[in-house]
């Protein structure tokens, strides 16, 4: 491959300064975060009273947001590990997008769980007095582990790119240059170094799969280890993981489209990528649909008394609009769009991705709240407002702030590091050209 072409790739993929649109985007995200921080300040001062959570609905949109974050973070393992191990080459440009989504989502998952705590300042009790029997401790352990593994998986492939970045000293400016040097000055493109990173990435690709499965399975167990109708299900781990893969893949499609559009990456994130990701999405949506049928049809067939109110509430009752909205936007409509070749073009695929993500968020809300409103003993001897749950503005602001925060992390990451691996893209192009020659 000639040097010219290589330079072109590097030029195309180097991180770029924020344009006007970029600055507006960052400013608005910071504004949303600031509002969330303000709301959290109020919550710290007044207590969880500022939320609409009460004794029956003791978990609200914070927890559904937490589940959503954990779910979307699973995509790191899907794109990087599963596709890598199955020798799928086309996913190379998507790996870093997936990994940064994973890292930022898992970070905000742990933050939002602290937000949900009544006494966040006692967080250290988890380490001082942690009980191994509690699924929360399991969750703390696996989330920490997953965070570190995801960081490593982000870091190893970044090393060759850091060397490329360091070369552009003028362009980088003082601070970024310092950061690049700190992170990767020791990378010399040596053959032995490549051998080690290849090995490390292979180990990570294998190791991350069980850990990723654990984070979401354990998260599902926070619900499934209780007796409550709607949570008391042996299907829950698989149901959560399939849903997580779906929302994660949807998130990647959305990110792909935005990065491609904004950084003009049409050459690297091609229509073909959307086509393939579209097919993956359809498969995952069908898988999730399968587990949904299991999750709802089986108990609905029996209609046990304890489950009846809960299920009817979802199918035809007060939660029916959200329920059917979530089912259609997260599964049926995306499947319908993406089944057609034209539907897998970038824009329609992007729309399907957005639908999946939005639908999935509401799906998480439905997993948490309606169950809590249908306890075994009827709701009684509590103030009238304990019988309902309509999140307050503080809750929306904090939940929105956390989502904006996660997007902000991704945005800054794309500002600092190449969102598409430069080195791997060069290698990929090389090997493609070699193939052509033969």
């Amino acid at each position: 491959m000639d040097k010219l072409k290589e330079n072109q790739i590097i030029e195309d993929l180097l991180p770029q300064k924020f344009g006007k649109l970029g600055r507006i985007w960052v400013a608005s995200l910071i504004a949303v975060c600031a509002l969330g921080a303000f709301a959290y300040g109020r919550q710290l001062y007044y207590g969880l009273e500022v939320t609409a959570m009460r004794d029956y609905v003791s978990w609200g949109i914070y927890i559904s947001n937490f589940v959503f974050f954990v779910a979307i973070s699973l995509v790191g393992s899907l794109i990087t590990a599963v596709l890598r191990l199955t020798n799928v080459k086309w996913s190379t440009p998507l790996t870093r997008i997936a990994e940064i989504i994973a890292v930022s989502a898992i970070t905000f998952a742990s933050l939002i769980i602290i937000v949900d705590m009544g006494r966040p300042e006692r967080f250290y009790n988890l380490f001082l007095h942690g009980r191994l029997q509690s699924p929360i401790i399991w969750d703390v352990i696996v989330i920490t582990t997953y965070f570190f593994i995801s960081l490593l998986l982000l870091y190893f492939p970044l090393l060759p790119d850091l060397k490329i970045l360091i070369a552009f000293k003028e362009r980088n400016g003082k601070w970024l240059q310092k950061l690049y040097v700190f992170l990767g000055s020791y990378w010399k493109d040596k053959h032995a170094q490549f051998k080690i990173t290849d090995k490390a990435i292979n180990i990570l690709a294998i190791a991350i799969i069980p850990v990723a499965f654990s984070i979401h399975t354990v998260t599902s167990w926070l619900f499934a280890t209780t007796y409550r109708p709607g949570w008391d299900s042996t299907n829950f781990g698989a149901y959560f993981i399939s849903g997580a893969f779906l929302v994660g893949a949807g998130g990647v499609v959305v990110a792909m489209y935005i990065f491609r559009k904004h950084y003009k990456l049409e050459k690297y994130i091609t229509d073909d990528h959307f086509d393939r990701m579209g097919k993956v999405l359809v498969m995952l949506a069908l898988l999730y649909l399968y587990f949904n049928v299991n999750e709802f049809l089986v108990p609905a067939f029996k209609m046990k008394k304890s489950e009846e109110e809960h299920l009817l509430g979802l199918f035809t009752g007060e939660f029916a609009p959200i329920f059917w909205f979530a089912i259609f936007t997260a599964m049926f409509i995306p499947i319908f769009i993406l089944l057609f070749k034209k539907g897998r073009k970038p824009l329609p695929a992007f729309i399907a991705g957005v639908l999946v993500v939005v639908g999935s968020w509401f799906k998480r809300f439905l997993i948490v709240t309606p169950t809590l409103l249908h306890p075994f003993l009827p709701m009684h001897d509590v103030p009238a407002n304990y019988h309902h749950y309509i999140p307050t503005w503080e809750e929306w602001a904090i939940a929105g702030g956390s989502l904006a925060g996660a997007l902000l992390v991704i945005t800054f990451f794309a500002r600092i590091f190449p969102i598409i691996p430069i080195h791997e893209t060069i290698l990929e192009t090389e090997s493609q050209e070699n193939e052509k020659h033969f």
Partner: protein, 288 residues
């Protein structure tokens, strides 16, 4: 004592209730006195303070009360003070100093007085009792005998027609020795009952404490006598407090869980540490 209480209740009912505007008006306080003879060894009084709050009698705490034997006119009759607890009462053991007054007569009375305070008017409660005691013994066939004696003209005489309960001592309330709730003393002052609580758990030797009890008698107050009998089932105490289980405390999780959890954690973190070491290796290669 009950009568005093009833009368004061009645009187109190006649007093018109005051509106909030006249809140400065002090409230009437009712003092109740109860007498206890504990196993013929010690004696004590329980003093209770009550007042009407929102139309209902409530126990009043934090009321200082002075207690006298016979009457409050003689300084020598003073036997102690106390302050009512949160539950509106306190317990006063009758001290040795009351001996002179106590031995004077078979009939005694105790007077409780609380001084006027910011919230309450002065109050006075009184109880009059005749000295009495119960003697207990047991017979073959798990029979309990209890005899009530009342001091009459310096002689302890058996007394008929007094209600008594015979119970097994338990933590919160005593269990009747059989299905009969109360017994009445016969002309010999005696009651007899058969213990029918077969296999009732006792202490670790199977011992039970049988209690004979006259409760809130208008003439004699409360009289208690106790005796130990080996009629119970020995208690074998076991607890799963130190067992390993999912609901046990920290450090007491089941072994399978510990092996599983620590095994998984160790396996994964060994891999992570190995990967960090690989980074170190890359650094070393880079610096060569």
């Amino acid at each position: 004592m009950k009568n005093i209480f009833k009368i004061s209740l009645l009187l109190f009912g006649l007093i018109p209730t005051f509106s909030n505007a006249q809140a400065i008006e002090k409230k009437t306080l009712v003092l109740g006195v109860k007498y206890y003879n504990d196993n013929n060894i010690s004696q004590h009084l329980v003093i209770q303070a009550k007042s009407k709050v929102d139309g209902k009698f409530q126990k009043i705490g934090n009321i200082p009360v002075k207690v006298y034997i016979n009457n409050e006119n003689d300084k020598n009759n003073f036997i102690g003070t106390g302050t009512t607890s949160e539950r509106g009462e306190f317990l006063l053991l009758i001290p040795a100093t009351a001996k002179t007054a106590w031995t004077k007569s078979a009939n005694q009375s105790f007077v409780a007085i609380s001084a006027e305070s910011k919230l309450y008017e002065e109050a006075r409660g009184e109880i009059a009792i005749t000295k009495a005691k119960i003697k207990m013994d047991t017979a073959d066939g798990k029979i309990v005998n209890a005899k009530l004696f009342v001091l009459t003209d310096s002689i302890w005489k058996p007394t008929a027609g007094v209600e008594m309960v015979l119970t097994v001592k338990r933590l919160d309330g005593n269990l009747n020795v059989n299905e009969t709730a109360t017994y009445t003393t016969d002309t010999a002052g005696a009651v007899t009952a058969e213990f029918k609580r077969e296999n009732l758990p006792g202490d670790n030797k199977g011992n039970l404490i049988i209690v004979a009890n006259v409760i809130d008698n208008d003439a004699y107050g409360n009289i208690i006598a106790e005796t130990i009998v080996p009629w119970g089932k020995p208690l074998v105490y076991t607890t799963n407090y130190n067992h390993r289980s999912l609901f046990a405390r920290r450090g007491h999780s089941p072994f399978w869980l510990e092996f599983l959890a620590y095994g998984i954690i160790a396996a994964v973190w060994v891999v992570i540490i190995y990967l960090v070491l690989l980074i170190k290796k890359i650094v070393k290669l880079g610096l060569e």
